[in-house]
């Protein structure tokens, strides 16, 4: 928003009592954490076991914790916005504050909740599912995590230091340029996304190489679990889409910090080019987060229907088709920009085409369940709940993709309802299904089913109560990003219902947290390693798996290898007939953490345009690069005795 008088921005955000209260809370939490770590003498443990780890399973767990925390933060933002809109002329939030909240909500939910959640799932499952001992580049994997983490911290910091960005999660110029968004808020957004974006690109490369190069012998591409296939699709999209975001954000940064004019019309810049670049990344991004959810549904549906997935090859073909087509539809996010009827027609038709492979997948899941022996566990509930959700989300997507009609829907609450339907009903349901499914593999205990189902029903019902009225509100003319509305528009009842739905979803989230806490305390322990009687390799290992995963790499002869082993070979995988050999593993390293910390420091310097601090951060980055380049002591062999001892302790005889 245009602030006429430019004053120096205060370092700490003050004035708003709610922010002040959160300041105090954050400070108290930090003090509490530091005190607890010191009191229980856990600093060393934290450093050795977590901050320096390169183990994909632990990195996955850290992603998961971060994603859940960010879901909480984004969720609180959402509840604040819904409370503000519950009734006309709401007074809870000031207009600027509302703008900051919807901006952070969107940014946090997509980049710091959905992204780490998919990274959590792929880190936990992919190496185990393909019979590998880690990812291809474990050290790079640690770098990815810490880049994400410090990027997320940078954005979250803006809330108490300097002020939050408020130009929307898409951050279009000219609004996001200095004259309209002075102060550090927008810089926080740009640098936070750049930092975590580096991590995301590295993850895409890492997993693509892992899947192509690290599969167990006999695990041909067409024998891989469908989740692994979905990660191929996601990785390809990450590699090709994220650079566009990097460029778009860098250009705005040049404009803001160095007086360039890429997007200022008066100096010959073209703001529409930002919109174009942003969505070259933005549309593939929504498929980057939905494809892993599709993969999880395939695993969960087939496990809990006790059947192999129906139409495996058509599933593979659909994933690949989606990855390619979803790269060709980006202009549907700006039909109203006026690029011309030819452009709009092309992108409208391409958008509708994405619906076809998606439909194929939905039918395959249904046919997998058909005549299966279905067990309604919590994970399965999330998977089944997804289907009607996605049917509605897909249908409204096609409505939006009809370019002339989109002139009515664009930027209305109809659009809001559409993308929440696919992002919550698709991505969040998928990730929660995956979390309930793989939780025992991660932590060695099963999440309680009764609490889990209560959470599911609350969340699912709350979801429809919250978002179905928003389609109607869109038709009635309510636009997105308004902080209040007058009485007498006829919007009041529907808004009130929507807010009630949001509260019910909030209670659902609380139940998930309760479920985790309760189950950690009393939950059923997973002593077999295969609590769901499942089909893929990860369930052949004890829960949690030893740090080297497989003492011997199995030889794969069929799809659903673990299921086949249980059916035909008394639950023994084909293992080479040799004695256990020493296992070559990567060493832990503190450099990734420090490397990302240096980026954080440098980014913080750029946010405030304190160039000495930025230079200091950059020096730190270079130092870390040099240190690593001359470090030849990066790996070791796990001795046979240790492997045998571990395997014995995990009740598996090391034959």
């Amino acid at each position: 928003m245009l602030r006429g008088d430019v004053q120096p921005t205060p370092f700490f955000v003050t004035g708003d009592p709610m922010i002040l209260a959160s300041d105090v809370l954050i400070a108290l939490t930090l003090v509490g954490i530091v005190a607890a770590l010191t009191y229980f003498k856990k600093w060393k443990w934290l450093w050795r076991e977590w901050l320096t780890t390169v183990d994909h399973k632990k990195i996955g767990i850290m992603y998961l914790i971060a994603a859940l925390l960010m879901m909480f933060r984004g969720g609180v933002d959402a509840e604040l916005m819904r409370t503000q809109l519950a009734l006309p002329n709401g007074r809870l939030l000031q207009p600027e504050h509302y703008d900051q909240i919807f901006t952070t909500h969107g940014t946090v939910m997509i980049l710091f909740m959905a992204m780490p959640f998919i990274f959590a799932m792929m880190n936990i499952a992919v190496p185990l599912q393909i019979g590998a001992r880690d990812v291809a580049f474990p050290y790079l994997n640690a770098i990815s995590f810490w880049m994400f983490f410090f990027g997320a911290m940078l954005l979250n910091l803006s809330f108490v230091i300097g002020g939050s960005p408020d130009a929307g999660w898409v951050s279009y110029p000219p609004l996001s340029e200095t004259p309209f968004s002075p102060g550090p808020g927008e810089n926080f957004y740009l640098l936070a996304l750049q930092t975590s974006g580096i991590g995301s690109i590295a993850t895409g490369i890492n997993f693509l190489v892992t899947i192509f190069k690290m599969r167990a012998p006999g695990m041909t591409l067409m024998r891989m679990p469908l989740f692994v296939w979905s990660i191929i699709g996601t990785s390809v999209l990450i590699i090709f889409a994220f650079p566009a975001l990097t460029v778009a954000l860098a250009l705005i940064l040049f404009d803001r910090l160095m007086g360039a004019h890429f997007f200022t019309i008066l100096q010959g810049g073209v703001p529409m080019m930002y919109i174009n670049l942003f969505w070259i990344w933005g549309h593939p991004e929504v498929y980057i987060v939905i494809l892993p959810a599709f993969g999880i549904f395939s695993e969960v549906v087939s496990t809990f229907s006790k059947k192999r997935t129906f139409g495996y090859s058509s599933m593979v073909a659909s994933i690949m088709a989606i990855s390619v087509i979803s790269y060709l539809v980006w202009a549907h996010h700006f039909f109203t920009m006026g690029a011309g009827p030819g452009v709009n027609a092309f992108f409208a038709i391409a958008s509708m085409c994405v619906g076809i492979p998606t439909g194929v997948k939905v039918f395959n899941w249904l046919f997998t369940m058909y005549q299966g022996r279905i067990r309604l566990t919590t994970a399965m509930m999330w998977a089944i709940g997804f289907i009607p959700n996605f049917a509605i989300g897909g249908a409204t997507g096609i409505m939006l993709a009809a370019a002339p009609a989109d002139y009515q829907y664009h930027n209305s609450y109809f659009l809001i309802a559409h993308f929440h339907q696919v992002l919550i009903g698709g991505v969040v349901y998928g990730m929660l299904a995956g979390m309930y499914y793989w939780w025992p593999k991660m932590f060695g205990f099963i999440l309680d089913d009764r609490l889990g189902k209560a959470a599911f029903w609350l969340f699912n019902i709350g979801f429809y109560v919250c978002f179905l009225p928003q389609y109607q509100l869109g038709f009635m003319g309510m636009t997105r990003r308004i902080y209040t509305y007058p009485a007498g528009m006829g919007w009041t009842t529907l808004n009130l219902i929507s807010t009630i739905g949001a509260y019910i979803m909030g209670i659902g989230f609380v139940f998930i947290v309760l479920d985790v806490l309760y189950s950690a305390w009393r939950g059923e322990r997973d002593v077999t390693g295969d609590p769901w009687d499942a089909r893929t390799l990860e369930w052949s290992l004890p829960s949690p798996a030893p740090h080297y995963n497989f003492a011997k790499i199995p030889v794969i002869t069929a799809r659903d290898a673990w299921w086949v082993a249980k059916q035909e070979n008394h639950g023994k995988l084909n293992e080479p007939d040799e004695p256990i050999a020493p296992i070559h593993m990567p060493k832990n390293s503190g450099v990734p953490f420090l490397f990302a910390l240096a980026f954080f420091v440098g980014g913080f310097g750029l946010v405030w345009e304190w160039y000495w601090l930025a230079a200091l951060g950059l020096a730190g980055v270079l130092l870390c690069l040099v240190t690593r380049s001359w470090d030849y002591n990066t790996d070791y062999y796990v001795p046979v005795e240790e492997i045998e001892h571990t395997e014995m302790a995990l009740r598996r005889s090391p034959t």
Binding site: P217, T220, I280, L328, W330, A581, I583, H584
Partner: protein
């Protein structure tokens, strides 16, 4: 491709130092590639800043520089000439080429606003 990572025995998850078959010594090719990239990038800047070409000519020059830059990347940094596992290389290269073409041609098409009036 029934791949394993058994380049040195026990299925190591590491691309550790002993794996690289690379020549020791100063990485000249990287330095040359880097300098060439810089030159090509600045050439595009000079075209825009210091010449009075028409829009179409300018875009043509920039596209030529960009095309050359692609080859610099492929040959100097991306081990284009070291062919192992050609099939996957060809698939990923053509996919990359396809996506790149879509983005460039699509962007030019969109940003030329050839509809003229606001639809």
């Amino acid at each position: 491709m029934s791949s394993t990572m058994d380049s040195h025995g026990h299925g190591s998850p590491m691309g550790g130092p002993q794996r690289g078959s690379h020549e020791e010594g100063f990485p000249w090719s990287h330095v040359i590639g880097y300098v060439l990239s810089l030159i090509l990038t600045f050439a595009a800047l000079v075209i825009v800043e210091n010449t009075k070409l028409s829009g179409a000519a300018m875009v043509t020059y920039i596209l030529i520089f960009a095309g050359l830059q692609v080859f610099v990347q492929l040959f100097f940094f991306m081990h284009f000439t070291e062919t192992v596992g050609p099939r996957i290389h060809i698939v990923s290269l053509s996919l990359g080429l396809f996506f790149t073409m879509c983005v460039i041609l699509g962007s030019i098409w969109i940003m030329s606003f050839s509809g003229h009036q606001a639809y």
